[in-house]
Symmetry: C2
C-alpha cells in the first residue's frame, strides 16, 4: 500500500509551537522518515523543536527550492510507492501556498497519491480574517511587479476589482521594499480605499490595522525589513 | 485599557479538537466571558468540548446571523471598552472568511480595537494546499450564482482567469447542489482544465482529488449533501 504526502505547516517567525500548531501535527511529524523541505538546516531545527524525541540522523531530506532541478522532483516521491509517508514543509507558514511546494503536490495528485494537508498558520488567511474585509470573495496576488509602470497598473487593476467585483485584494512584497509599496498605494489609490497592513503575524509584536488610504500617510508603522502582508478593499 | 476581539476558529465537522486547533486557543477561550456567535446552541457545545472546565452559565452570548439587525452589532462590541475580551466564532472553520463575522471585525477595526486572529482549520486554505494548484495567485469566489445562465457565465469567467491570469479559482456550493455544479463544470470547461474536488476536509473520510475535467465524468464520488469545496486550474 502506498504512503501519503503530508503537508506540514511551520511557525511564522519565532512563535511557540503550541500557539499555532495543533498537537496532532507533532504526533504525525514524529512518525515520518522522509521530508521534502526548502532548506535542510532550518527544517531540522523546526522538527527538533516540534518533537524533541525525534532522531534527526534517522531522517532523509530532499531539498526543494529555486535551485532544484524540476525533473528530480519525481524521484523525491518514490518512498511513497514503498509505503512510506513523506512530509512537505516550507520555510514559514503552510506549504504549497506561496512557495515551490505546489509542484510536488501536483505530481502526487497526478500519480493518485493521497495528499493530507495539516492545519497551521497562514499569514494570508489570518490577515484576511482580522482585516474586516470581504471574506466571501478575495484574491491573493503574490508579489507585485517590480517595474514601476507595471506595478502601478497592477495596483489599479486590483483597486478596480475591489469596486467592480467586491473582491478583497491581498498581496506581499520583499521586506526591504514594504515602504515603497505602501507609498505607491497611497499615491495611486482613491483616498477612501481601505488598506490593511499586517506585520509579524502570530508573533509577540503582531500588528494588524485597517484604515482608509488617506489616514495612513501620517500613521505609517516601521515596516523596514519586517514580514508584511497587505490587503485593500472598498 | 480596551479589551481585544479574538477570532476563534471552530472544527470542521466532528473532528477531535487536538487535530486541528492549537493548544493555546483552548487557554484563551477559557479566559473569555463574551462571545459573538452564529448559533448559541452549537457555540456552547464547542466551548464545552474545547475547555470542559468552562462555566457556560457565566458567559454572555450575542447572536450574529442573517436575522441580526446590523445596527445592533455596535452594541455587541461594548464590553471591549470596559476592558473585556470578546470571542468571535462561526459555525465551522475560521470566522470572518465565509460568514457574517467580517462585519464585526470591520467595526472593531474602525474603532481602533485590537483584533487577534487565532489559527484553525479553513477548507479554502487546506484544499488549495492539497490541490497541487497555483498557490502564488488564487481567488475565492464564494457561492456561484443560482440562475443557470449567470452560473455558466461565472464558470467561464473563472476558467478564463485560470488561463489568462494563471490564477487558481476556488468556489463552494450548497451541499444538495454539488452534483449539479460539477456537471455544469464538466459541460462548460475545457476537457483538459483540472478540477479538484475536496470533501469533508479534516474529517475521517476526507477526500481531496485533482484530475482533468474529462477524467471526472466516470469517477465522480458521492457528493450528495456533503460539505465540498471546488477548485479549477490549468
Amino acid at each position: 500500500m502506498n504512503g501519503s504526502l503530508y503537508l506540514i505547516p511551520v511557525t511564522l517567525g519565532d512563535t511557540p509551537h503550541n500557539k499555532v500548531i495543533p498537537e496532532e501535527n507533532r504526533e504525525i511529524v514524529g512518525t515520518i522518515k522522509y521530508f521534502i523541505v526548502e532548506n535542510i538546516r532550518t527544517a531540522r531545527r523546526f522538527l527538533k523543536k516540534a518533537e524533541p524525541a525525534i532522531n534527526i540522523d534517522d531522517l532523509t531530506f530532499f531539498e526543494l527550492n529555486k535551485h532544484t532541478d524540476k525533473t528530480q522532483i519525481d524521484t523525491y516521491l518514490k518512498p511513497i510507492c514503498d509505503g512510506q509517508n513523506i512530509g512537505l514543509m516550507s520555510e514559514a507558514g503552510v506549504p504549497a501556498i506561496a512557495d515551490p511546494g505546489a509542484d510536488v503536490v501536483a505530481i502526487a495528485q497526478r500519480n493518485g497519491y493521497k495528499v493530507i494537508p495539516l492545519v497551521g498558520p497562514s499569514s494570508i488567511l489570518l490577515s484576511l480574517m482580522a482585516s474586516g474585509f470581504n471574506g466571501q470573495s478575495f484574491a491573493f496576488n503574490g508579489y507585485l511587479p517590480i517595474d514601476a509602470n507595471e506595478r502601478i497598473r497592477k495596483i489599479k487593476q486590483m483597486e478596480n476589482r475591489i469596486f467592480h467585483e467586491d473582491q478583497t485584494q491581498i498581496f506581499i512584497e520583499t521586506p526591504y521594499r514594504n515602504e515603497k509599496l505602501v507609498n505607491d498605494i497611497i499615491k495611486n489609490c482613491s483616498p477612501s480605499t481601505k488598506l490593511c497592513i499586517a506585520m509579524n503575524i502570530t508573533c509577540e509584536d503582531e500588528y494588524i490595522k485597517t484604515m482608509p488610504v488617506k489616514n495612513w500617510q501620517k500613521h505609517l508603522p516601521d515596516m523596514h525589513k519586517k514580514t508584511c502582508i497587505f490587503l485593500i478593499y472598498k
